[in-house]
């Protein structure tokens, strides 16, 4: 079964696709920052697959972390996530944060006290293991927002 934690940091991205690796990069930082704190669990995946609903179900709060192609490169955004599923999106075996929350509620009756999505705008997702200048510059701010969000979820 999934490991219980009060706050789940759930990152997505491919570290071999340049800026798309910003999610796993922030997850690695969070792992280090909250090392030794059993209330915080960090998971990084290349895709958010349906079985992650089990992990989400065991947490009080969830912070999704991902790259985004929509905002300008380097822009860091924190937005609330609801379990309302956009019916125009056709899920297969990778899901959006909304769909994952919806699936968690449907299957496990679990509703989160906090659910947020932290995104960093990307400029390149070509093959590569380095970040673009805007994403590199955005990392300190993204780390700060991530830390603050987790601490707030924990009531600190």
């Amino acid at each position: 079964m999934a490991i219980t934690a009060r706050c789940l940091v759930l990152a997505c991205g491919n570290s071999l696709r340049s800026d798309d690796g910003v999610g796993p990069k922030l997850a690695a930082w969070a792992e280090e920052r909250f090392r030794g704190e059993p209330e915080v669990r960090v998971i990084a995946r290349q895709q958010w697959t349906p079985e992650l609903a089990e992990e989400i179900a065991t947490a009080d709060s969830v912070l999704f972390v991902d790259a985004s192609v929509k905002p300008p490169p380097g822009r860091v955004r924190l937005i609330p996530v609801t379990s309302r599923v956009d019916s125009s999106a056709q899920p297969s075996h990778d899901l959006t944060p909304n769909q994952l929350l919806g699936l968690t509620r449907t299957l496990y009756g679990s509703i989160k006290s906090h659910a947020m999505l932290l995104t960093v705008g990307v400029s390149s997702t070509e093959l590569g293991e380095t970040f673009s200048a805007p994403v590199t510059a955005a990392l300190p701010r993204a780390r700060g927002i991530l830390e603050k969000s987790v601490l707030r979820f924990l009531g600190r």
């Binding site: 991205g13 491919n14 696709r17 798309d20 290349q46 895709q47 697959t49 349906p50 079985e51 609903a53 089990e54 192609v69 599923v85 019916s87 125009s88 999106a89 056709q90 899920p91 297969s92 075996h93 990778d94 899901l95 769909q99 919806g102 699936l103 449907t106 299957l107 496990y108 997702t125």
Partner: protein, 474 residues
């Protein structure tokens, strides 16, 4: 005036493909093709690499079935080294491959196929997906997730990673199994049994409502090929290949990896990047054959485990000879999952399973080697040539999807001819054509991280390219 219907991309598959259906002037289906539209290039860019890197390189071909590539590749390397791996290593590899089969079949059945099976082929596409299944049948949604998690957790326990695990190396494994890991795996099995039991029960209840689909979903006589043990039981990792004909007659038996290329050829068609495997003595396309769960259950005489044995007997009642409708791939997949769980339990009870000796070592003793294993989707064959320093000079991979390619194309044509009438079609009709391909669970490429949603657009084009009808799924 001839017209073409294009389904691009085909949804709920592992990878990117499209279907085209050509109509003649009377609106009848003239021809249909399943196209694989991506190029990977692994055979070429492995040239020049040291042979011992091949298992970990080849595993990157796929994010769903990397274990099969690991194993087939390691076996090809062991043929180059001329070594036999220790008994315990062979057993542990077998378990790893079965865990992969369980998680992959769970993905295919619950995430990709069950929306059609449980909600109906004509259900609104907005709900015909895993979320719709979860809402309608939450107990099955939880069962699917549990089986995926259990399969992946076993892979992670053994190979440290749930996707692209290491552990399997030329000569055996990097480390033995610990008693702690063995106990953790054993603790997962009761939930696995109950989950697959639930799925089998649900499937048997609804299968009868798909009589028409069973009739026209790639339902034709064909040859079948799979690995089989010396006891004529199912075997995912060892054994030799058997090829049977449409009546169950044995055409070729005891095919080792070395003999594979003597009798199996690969044809090329100009509409797909995937090759078409065939049995050389019968030529192409007559020598085409099917692989995967349906082929395996058609070929084996026994599952070798008690619960799956009962299910096999029931499965074989579906036809007097080989079961020919590809719709029954779904059923076969469930039987195999049950077998996988039983076999994992059996392997863990092996008195030597915690032995520390799990690796044999050697250098280059042959300049050519081949290895084969069963991937969830069917037979997987790796064949390498090396120079005296062990650098790869040539590589060829024959994957399950290529071996099913001809049958998938014939199946698409059969279904299109049945369902598309007078050039008219609905979204539900085209979903059935896609669903034919889904029965085979082809793996086109699943290791690529994709952005955004995959739209589905089906256009009916006149001969001069004018769109005369269109169905879009955004």
């Amino acid at each position: 005036m001839s017209e073409t219907i294009t389904i691009d991309p085909v949804t709920r598959l592992e990878g990117h493909g499209k279907i085209t259906i050509q109509l003649n002037g009377q609106g009848e289906v003239e021809n249909a093709h399943f196209h694989v539209t991506q190029v990977r290039g692994f055979e070429r860019f492995s040239e020049g690499r040291p042979f011992y890197e091949m298992p970990s390189l080849m595993a990157r071909i796929c994010g769903i079935c990397p274990v099969s590539h690991l194993i087939a590749s390691a076996k090809a390397c062991e043929a180059i080294m001329s070594v036999r791996i220790p008994h315990t290593a062979a057993q542990l590899r077998r378990m790893l491959n079965l865990a992969q089969m369980v998680q992959s079949h769970a993905l295919s059945f619950f995430y990709l196929a069950s929306p059609d099976l449980l909600l109906g082929m004509e259900a609104d596409p907005k709900v015909r997906n895993i979320l719709g299944v979860a809402a309608a049948k939450p107990e099955l949604g939880r069962a699917g997730i549990a089986l995926r998690r259990i399969g992946q957790s076993i892979i992670e326990l053994l190979g440290d990673k749930r996707v692209h695990p290491g552990w399997v190396v030329p000569g055996g494994l990097t480390e033995p199994l610990s008693s702690e890991k063995r106990d953790k795996i054993l603790a997962m099995l009761p939930e696995a049994y109950s989950s697959v039991g639930l799925a089998l029960g649900a499937y048997k209840q609804i299968a009868g409502t798909f009589k028409q689909e069973i009739e026209v979903f790639a339902n034709f006589p064909s040859n079948y090929m799979s690995l089989i043990s010396e006891e004529e039981a199912i075997d995912f990792t060892d054994g030799a290949l058997r090829l049977i004909g449409a009546t169950g007659n044995i055409i070729e038996d005891g095919m080792t990896a070395t003999r594979f290329t003597e009798v199996i050829g690969e044809a090329v068609e100009n509409y797909s990047y995937t090759k078409f495997a065939y049995y050389k003595p019968l030529g192409y396309p007559d020598g085409s054959y099917r692989v995967g769960p349906l082929a395996r259950l058609n070929i084996v005489k026994s599952m070798g485990t008690p619960k799956a044995e009962k299910e096999l007997a029931e499965f074989k009642q579906l036809a007097a000879g080989p079961v020919s409708s590809s719709f029954h791939y779904h059923h076969a997949r469930l039987v195999e999952m049950l077998y996988g769980i039983e076999k994992i339990e059996e392997i863990l009870a092996d008195s030597r399973i915690l032995d520390k000796h799990v690796r044999a070592t050697a250098g280059v003793n042959r300049l050519e080697g081949a290895g084969q294993a069963e991937a969830p989707r069917g037979v997987l064959h790796h064949h390498y040539k090396v120079d005296e320093n062990g650098k790869i000079t040539w590589a060829n991979l024959v994957i399950a999807t290529g071996q099913n390619n001809n049958a998938m194309n014939r199946g698409v044509l059969q279904a299109a001819r049945h369902y598309v009438k007078d050039g008219k079609f609905t979204e539900g009709v085209l979903n059935r054509v896609e669903a034919v391909v889904r029965t085979f669970d082809p793996c086109l490429s699943c290791s690529t991280h994709a952005f955004g949603q995959m739209p589905l657009e089906i256009s009916l084009l006149s001969a001069d390219g004018e769109v005369v009808d269109r169905v879009a799924r955004d």
